[in-house]
Amino acid sequence: MANSVSIRDLSLSFGAVTVLKDLNLDIHDGEFLVLLGSSGCGKSTLLNCIAGLLEPTEGQIYIKDRNVTWEEPKDRGIGMVFQSYALYPQMTVEKNLSFGLQVAKMPKPDIDKRVARASEILQIGPLLKRKPAELSGGQRQRVAIGRALVRDVDVFLFDEPLSNLDAKLRSELRVEIKRLHQQLKNTMIYVTHDQIEALTLADRIAIMKSGVIQQLDDPIVIYNRPKNLFVAGFIGSPSMNFLRGEISEVDGRPVFTTHGVNFSLAGYQASEPLSAGRKVVLGARPEHIAIDSDVMGGEAHEAVVDIEEPMGADNLLWLKHAGHLMSVRIGGARRYAPGSRVRMAFDMSMASLFDAETEDRI
């Protein structure tokens, strides 16, 4: 597949502070790529470099196989949507949409055509004569997307576009952005710190930490086979259970030992040999721990229910076992009183083992 955006060995420092370091990233044509990471990890900085709003210290940026490292933002074929909407407050919605085209000296009839098309796609026709101050947050963000749309660009850049909206609007607009992508099939690069947005929108997610991409993969792969401890802990809510322990050998088979209790590792697909004595961290998501009737034969351990958190569709149990507190997700109809005893077992085919030293997946 052709690459729409390529980033080669990109580094950026503000004085002594290095924000991005030797970053490489290839984004396919028509792909929806989400940059996910906690606040301050350099997501916006990377996006601004792609847009041409920040000069990289080193490295190159290609858009549509053209080296645009030294090009002005307007010549890169990108449109950008900001968290604060960044609409020009003194201009009407229509002027906001057409400003960039006017600057580019496009003939008036063409401008009108573009504005009409964008306002139809985003259903902002009735708002065209209003000023941004007279719009709700959701409407403003729609206009901001429209401003990128009219420019008819190859690549859309979104910098946390939904973070200023309330929860309900956020989930509505999220669906709209996804629909927009399916309709337009442009390349979209979307920055967020919200993992739900990332998981629901992305074709691929790039998880960043301190300016370095930790893992670049399908959302499902990232969720089920996180490459390291950071990714595993970052994705998933409630977060993955981590148990520190070591590998030991029982009857010639590797097992995971923690606080003197052994858990069989049967079913775990290791990429490295599991040698006895190795210090490891076992990670299991709440929905990958089976209790009582879900336990499919094999070994099972006894645990005590500490706290129950019913959430409607699901029920979250906090279990105490071998000195660990673990969360388990079960159906909302199954209720357990605190103090009740349950049988539990890990679904090892869905679990993750990390080296305790390097924190990488084994």
Binding site: A51, Y88, Q90, F99
Partner: protein
């Protein structure tokens, strides 16, 4: 029927609630009007107001008295016979050392100095403030530091070098020279003012405009300017009052026939020949101070808003 009965029960419920209120504190706590705090606060405010208003009162009454009445010596008494003679004289026929056509000549001189100085200094400072805030260039921080330091250098130190400079340029003693001087001396504080204001505007707005392809001037004129009315009003007030009230540069950099109003006021008030005409002096002073006062009254509200906008981010 069912509706009415529910209504009734609701009403009964309300009654029950209000009936439950016991005696004792309820609702907002009453506040004493004559609390110690209020007496001190308003007392101080009144004293401060009187302190500033009293001299103004004396000036106004004195300017409307005739000389015989002034000689009676009671400066606080209101005029027995109101006369505007002193005002007319101050404006049109008071003597200022060289000629006897009052303050009117100085007024027009001041206007001719004021308008271009204000326009040029604000135009230059707003563009440099915008450049410093949004277009970081190599050495912009150094440039900015130099400007800040410039704001603290006493004027007197620079007067002689500037006199020489203007003389070499051949514009010493002309209005052009004075306008340039006012522009230069207004630069540090105005640039600082504009830079801080433009920095407080959302950065993403500037980025959006750049993505839209707008350049330096387009962003300034079409995006930034329309959002900056309050700060322009602040700058205008600062410059109008500053330049109108200026005395030093007026004396140093102009010739007597183009002296600004303040210098002429001084010449009227301090003229040594003849009797001191207190009423004319008071009227002349009030006339000279009228312009900044009017500017304050007209744009006070915008001024406060602009100061607030500059101080508080967002």
């Amino acid at each position: 029927m069912a509706n009415i009965s529910t209504l009734n029960t609701t009403a009964a419920g309300l009654d029950a609630v209000s009936g439950r209120l016991g005696s004792g504190p309820s609702g907002a706590r009453p506040r004493k009007v004559l609390s110690q705090r209020n007496i001190i606060l308003y007392g101080l405010l009144i004293v401060a107001a009187l302190y500033y208003l009293l001299p103004l009162y004396v000036m106004i009454v004195t300017s409307m008295k005739g000389m015989p009445e002034i000689r009676l010596g009671n400066i606080f008494s209101p005029p027995m016979e109101i006369t505007f003679e002193p005002w007319a004289k101050a404006w049109a026929s008071a003597c200022t050392g060289l000629n006897c056509d009052g303050l009117s000549r100085g007024f027009w001189n001041s206007v001719r100095i004021l308008v271009p100085s204000v326009v040029v200094s604000i135009a230059v400072a707003s563009v440099s403030g915008y450049a410093l805030a949004n277009w970081r260039f190599k050495g912009s921080d150094v440039f900015f530091s130099i400007l800040i330091v410039g704001a603290f250098i006493p004027y007197q130190v620079m007067i002689y070098p500037i006199v020489i400079l203007l003389r070499e340029l051949g514009i010493y003693g002309t209005l052009t020279g004075l306008i340039i001087v006012h522009t230069i001396f207004g630069m540090p504080i105005l640039t600082l003012l504009f830079r801080n204001y433009f920095t407080s505007l959302p950065e993403e707005l500037f980025k959006a405009a750049r993505i839209d392809g707008a350049g330096f001037w387009q962003i300034f004129l079409r995006i930034m300017l329309p959002m900056s009315l309050p700060i322009f009003v602040v700058a205008m007030i600062l410059q109008v009052t500053g330049i109108w009230n200026d005395f030093l540069f007026g004396v140093v950099f102009t010739r007597p026939d183009s002296y600004p109003m303040t210098v002429q006021l001084n010449n009227i008030v301090n003229s040594v020949q003849g009797v001191k005409e207190y009423n004319v002096n008071m009227a002349a002073t009030l006339l000279t101070g009228a312009v900044p006062l009017i500017v304050y009254f007209v744009s006070g509200r915008l001024f406060v808003r602009g100061i607030a906008a500059g101080a508080v981010k967002g």
